[in-house]
């Protein structure tokens, strides 16, 4: 595209600019986005603000309640490890895991769904049949087998969870592609001699991206929750590393004597999940994609 004569950047397309404006008007979206940004910055910088290490045991402060008069601002756990540093590190790992798995499920789901929807006919039928079969298997069964194979490599494990968690994404993309396939601009592209791969990635995928973004914002918290369930089973992140899930699981066993061990990571997880949900809801309204 040629730049306009006065040298300004080309104008954003109408739909996206409208969506952005609607998003900016939503107080929930702005609140959620700033809460997320704050948590991300805190998770990255926070551990450096405090002198304690995530795996250092402070024998003089076992199970210390939170307070600003000592170095353990958010208290310590039952082993005397600093909860401020561990919670922020856990936030970092939970976010990384959630984003990684979502990204993988996005890539696989978009390609699979777009190919199925655009190919149509018996190819589509077969590909949807495969999804139906995979959806019939309980996810946890796959994941346990994956933990056996991948063992301690957490990131590989969660990439693998993303790689099997793409089913809904593929269904959404296929539905959108089916609707777009018959539109005039696709026929025009076919008429100009564009090949199927070019049509798929230049013309189909950019037009199904709205629902995909919305669904992705709702997938991140699902993966974070799923990780906390795996950690509860002892299959997720391993000691001395921490995720929000492992911190909550170990805090839950001390909730009577030391409630802060449960409350602090739970509060961070709740803020994280609520922000993602509110952002997803606001995006859904802004992009006007209906219910997913």
């Amino acid at each position: 595209m040629n730049p306009p004569p006065d040298g300004r950047a080309p104008r954003a397309s109408g739909v996206w600019r409208d969506a952005l404006r609607r998003l900016g008007r939503s107080r929930a979206a702005l609140g959620a986005a700033s809460a997320l940004a704050f948590l991300v910055v805190l998770a990255i910088l926070g551990p450096h603000l405090n002198p304690n290490r995530y795996d250092a045991i402070d024998w003089s402060c076992i199970a210390m309640p939170p307070g600003l008069e000592h170095a353990h601002w958010w208290g310590t756990d039952a082993l005397g490890r600093d909860l401020f540093v561990r919670t922020l590190l856990g936030t970092r790992i939970s976010l990384a895991v959630g984003l990684l798995a979502t990204l993988v499920s996005l890539l696989v789901g978009i390609v699979y769904g777009a190919v199925a929807g655009y190919a149509g006919g018996s190819v589509d039928h077969l590909m949807m049949r495969v999804i139906e079969i995979l959806a019939g298997l309980p996810l946890i069964f796959f994941v346990i087998l994956l933990t056996v194979v991948f063992g301690r490599s957490e990131y590989l494990l969660f990439a693998a969870i993303g790689a099997i968690g793409w089913l809904t994404m593929a269904r959404i993309v296929r539905g959108q592609t089916l609707a777009i396939r018959e539109r005039e601009f696709i026929q025009a592209a076919v008429a100009t001699g564009a090949g199927p791969v070019r049509i798929l990635f230049r013309h189909v995928v950019p037009n199904v991206i709205g629902p995909v973004i919305v669904y992705a914002t709702l997938t991140v918290p699902q993966i974070i929750l799923f990780e906390s369930f795996l950690s509860f089973l002892g299959l997720g992140i391993q000691e001395p590393q921490a995720s929000l899930g492992t911190l909550i699981a170990s805090g839950a066993s001390e909730m009577e004597s030391a409630p802060w061990m449960l409350l602090i990571p739970s509060a961070v997880l709740a803020i994280l999940l609520i922000s993602f949900h509110l952002l997803g809801d606001a995006l859904r309204d802004a992009l006007d994609v209906g219910d997913l």
Binding site: L137, P138, L145, L167, I248, L273, D281
Partner: protein, 323 residues
């Protein structure tokens, strides 16, 4: 994690009996594929059912393998498993000595299914009610409060919620038992059912709210208002039916998930259900038990998929059943 989309589309009307026959027959290859994939996946996972921290003597392992038929070629084990399955026999459990998988599931399933069915029923009634109220107050305080609370209900893990409820109502207030199981005592149901039903209730409330807001904006609802019908009639007779379609789609995975039991809830509350068998079976390489659980889950899921499609066709008269 995945929601099942309705496979019914606009098309020619088909007799119900033929439709049901088509769907049931069509489910058999799907189930067979699921059994086959699971059978070979669990077999190719490293380690076996008789591995212990201290290795057993080689001749003991050989005897065990022979007793359970593990010494035969894999494809022979597969075909004989399928043959037994066709006779309704899930085989012996590898870890629960002297129990067949059929016995384990027959004993535990009613417990998990009862709790799950009650939880889903409460979630459905409560979720739809809350969702409708929120939609009718769209943009007001009740609406915002519903959205906020529903996210919290979805976000709190069950392994936090159940111990917290137990601490409050069991240990502090002495109102309810923390754990234990007597099928005749309703008090034992309260805490596990509450924990089980909150996430689906919140999810159903959100789905209902979103689709109800859409429907209330539609032309025919405006017409109903213009005719001067009372709000109650408009909501119950005109708006609710189409608004329930997304809820119906969500029901199939939710029911399959909840009725096959929750590992967390059943372990913490000490309930004799089947929730732990899938995870334990997979971890212990209890081959037959895992496969039995996968079959129960996927059969329930496929059956619920059929029920949901019928439900959607009943809710939306424009949809015709089509195989």
């Amino acid at each position: 994690m995945s929601t099942v989309r309705p496979v019914v589309t606009l098309g020619r009307r088909m007799p119900l009996i033929r439709y049901l026959l088509f769907r049931v027959l069509g489910a058999i290859p799907t189930l067979l594929a699921i059994v086959t994939i699971s059978f070979f996946l669990i077999r190719f996972a490293p380690a076996g059912p008789f591995d212990r921290a201290r290795a057993l003597p080689a001749d003991v392992v050989a005897n065990l393998d022979a007793a359970y038929g593990l010494d035969r070629p894999l494809w022979q084990q597969y075909t004989s498993y399928l043959r037994d399955l066709a006779h309704g026999d899930f085989g012996p459990s590898f870890r629960y000595k002297d129990f067949s998988v059929t016995e384990l599931i027959r004993e535990g399933f009613p417990v998990s299914a009862t709790l799950g069915a009650i939880a889903i029923a409460i979630a459905l009634v409560g979720g739809v009610g809350v969702g409708v109220v929120a939609a009718l107050n769209h943009g007001r305080f009740v609406d915002h409060a519903t959205i906020g609370l529903s996210v919290v209900a979805i976000a709190v893990p069950s392994f936090v919620l159940l111990p917290a409820l137990g601490l409050l109502f069991g240990i502090e207030l002495h109102w309810l038992p923390v754990a234990g199981w007597d099928p005749t005592s309703i008090r034992d149901y309260v805490l596990p059912v509450t924990t089980l039903c909150l996430p689906p209730l919140a999810y159903i409330a959100r789905l209902t709210r979103a689709s109800m807001i859409e429907v209330m904006r539609s032309a025919y609802v405006r017409t109903a208002f213009a005719k001067g019908l009372p709000l109650r009639t408009i909501v119950l007779k005109h708006a609710l039916r189409p608004a329930l379609i997304p809820v119906a789609s969500y029901l199939a995975p939710a029911v399959a998930m909840t009725m096959t039991g929750s590992l967390v809830v059943e372990t913490i509350a000490g309930l004799p259900g089947i929730g732990r068998y899938l995870v334990q079976g997979a971890l212990n390489r209890d081959y037959t038990l895992v496969l039995g659980m996968v079959i129960v889950y996927s059969t329930l899921l496929i059956a619920m998929g059929l029920v949901v499609d019928l439900l959607i066709a009943a809710l939306d008269p424009r949809i015709r059943l089509e195989a």
